[in-house]
């Protein structure tokens, strides 16, 4: 494994130049700047909203200073509320090449695109010249998510990812699992794995918050496709999703943007605090992936049964396919054939070892299927959180 060393001491496994629109009105201009290099390490992300939001501001700061990011070009319309100068200062303070283009000041669409393309052309050679250094297992942060789940997800891919998590965490890495709304019914078991009784209480409270939130909305995370695949209830889906976490002790509870404190297994709380606002907590899988990345995840293990094809901006996504039929239908999109467990062609430990080895290969520069196909999905919407209390990160309080 190798990485690019950043000034905060973290290392990235990619060296991405981000083009960032700060309101939907700047999206086209930002896309035109990034499109010239589509599919490579020039990537487009953005926040669509015009009104200010502390969560979105914090998320953008974390994402633009993610270790996989080497340089940042911000594209603003000019009249939106995003604190663009503050974001620019944060990125510059991190030592990264950064620039801000304001369309209303730069002379409109065409001139801004020209200036943006020129900045990208000047900056790419700087990134290419940056040296890499060895990356140790304990410097790696790995996130996991499931999407397009079916009845096979909880039987093959999720427990195999759990075995991979156990291996990576035993080697000193940080692992993050998430979506408390999909863990309803598992809170007692999670509490029994918590490093401290105070953390156990926080975990139970955070799942109760998720249950209240989804009950108020009148919806769960349960989709029609889940039932077609054989899952009947929320708690059944929860137990299957929970298997991704493996068997390590839970050492912390994060909120989006919080960084792990040392190696170990962390739960990420993605359900907003306070009264229900802004609609669904996460409108699609990529919103959760973005939150894992904001917590510093270098790479994402994505379990799918029905066959999600997504990747992500900033961090590579490894697709672990739970269903052997799906794998045969979508082989180009799937990195790991975990469904062969159902056909008696492999065991959970074998597939878990394969996933852990693939994480190391991807951290060494090997492209994932979604990277090779050019996937760079990104979603960031309005949310609101209160900071996590000291009981959530016992290692930091020591």
């Amino acid at each position: 494994m190798r990485g690019w060393l950043r000034t905060d001491g973290r290392k990235g496994i990619r060296n991405v130049l981000l083009v960032v629109y700060l309101v939907e009105c700047a999206h086209h201009v930002a896309r035109a700047i990034a499109d010239r290099h589509a599919g490579g390490d020039v990537q487009l992300i953005g926040f669509p909203g015009c009104y200010p939001n502390d969560y979105a501001q914090m998320m953008m700061e974390r994402l633009c200073c993610h270790p996989n990011v080497g340089a940042v070009l911000l594209v603003s319309l000019g009249c939106e509320s995003f604190a663009r100068n503050r974001l620019l200062e944060v990125v510059r303070a991190s030592g990264r090449p950064a620039s801000l283009l304001v369309i209303q000041a730069a002379g409109g669409t065409r001139r801004t695109i020209e200036r943006g393309r020129a900045w990208v052309a000047e900056t790419l050679p700087l990134l290419a010249a940056m040296p890499t250094t060895a990356l140790a297992p304990h410097e790696l942060v790995v996130g996991t998510i499931c999407g397009g789940s079916d009845g096979t997800s909880g039987l093959t891919a999720n427990p195999a990812i759990g075995r991979a998590f156990d291996r990576l965490i035993a080697a000193g890495a940080s692992g993050i699992f998430e979506e408390t709304g999909e863990l309803i019914g598992c809170e007692g078991h999670m509490a029994s794995r918590a490093a401290t009784p105070e953390l156990a209480a926080e975990i139970v409270a955070t799942v109760e918050k998720a249950a209240r939130y989804y009950t108020t909305l009148g919806h769960g995370s349960f989709a029609v496709g889940n039932a077609d695949g054989g899952l009947t209830t929320q708690e059944e889906k929860s137990m299957g999703a929970y298997a991704k976490s493996g068997a390590s002790p839970i050492v912390g509870l994060l909120k989006p943007g919080d960084q792990p404190v040392g190696g170990g297994l962390y739960l990420l709380d993605v359900v907003p605090d306070g009264e229900v606002r802004f609609g669904f907590p996460n409108i699609a899988d990529n919103a959760e992936i973005v939150e894992l990345i904001a917590c510093g995840a270098h790479v994402i293990l994505f379990s799918t049964g029905r066959g999600s094809v997504v990747g992500s901006a900033i961090a590579p996504v490894i697709k672990v396919c739970a269903n052997p039929e799906t794998y045969r239908r979508l082989p180009e999109d799937m990195d790991v054939d975990a469904g062969r467990i159902l056909e008696g062609r492999a065991g959970l430990d074998e597939v878990g070892a394969e996933i852990a080895a693939l994480v190391a290969a991807v951290a060494g520069g090997a492209p994932t299927c979604s990277e090779a196909l050019g996937h760079q999905e990104f979603i960031l919407t309005y949310k609101s959180f209160t900071p996590a209390g000291p009981a959530c990160l016992p290692a930091a309080a020591r």
């Binding site: 009845g151 054989g230 009947t232 708690e235 137990m239 159902l342």
Partner: protein, 98 residues
């Protein structure tokens, strides 16, 4: 194509088995030395009852309750939306205060 058993038992205390292939009505599947005759077709990834489950009884998978039977379920019956309901979100307000 494969000699692996057509069903999976995830935890010893479970009262459902998981089909790992599309199974036909009338098919016999093994379960801990017994044989269960399927009352309906059970698609890949879906559940079938190992034992009779009374109405209101808990359905156990992964060694944990995943909901309650909404009617009596016979051994070999397909277990899904028509006879199993969540104990959580299907009854909003029952388990959680305001």
């Amino acid at each position: 194509m494969t000699h692996a058993p057509p069903v999976l038992l995830l935890a010893p205390e479970d009262n459902v088995l998981i089909a790992v292939a599309d199974l036909a009505a009338g098919q016999i599947v093994p379960d801990a030395g017994r044989a269960i005759r399927l009352r309906q077709a059970v698609p890949l990834g879906h559940k079938l009852a190992r034992h009779p489950i009374p109405a209101g009884g808990r359905v156990i998978k992964y060694g944990a309750p995943i909901g309650s039977a909404t009617c009596a379920i016979a051994a070999g019956e397909w277990v899904h939306l028509h006879n199993l309901a969540s104990d959580y979100l299907a009854t909003p307000g029952a388990d959680h205060g305001a």
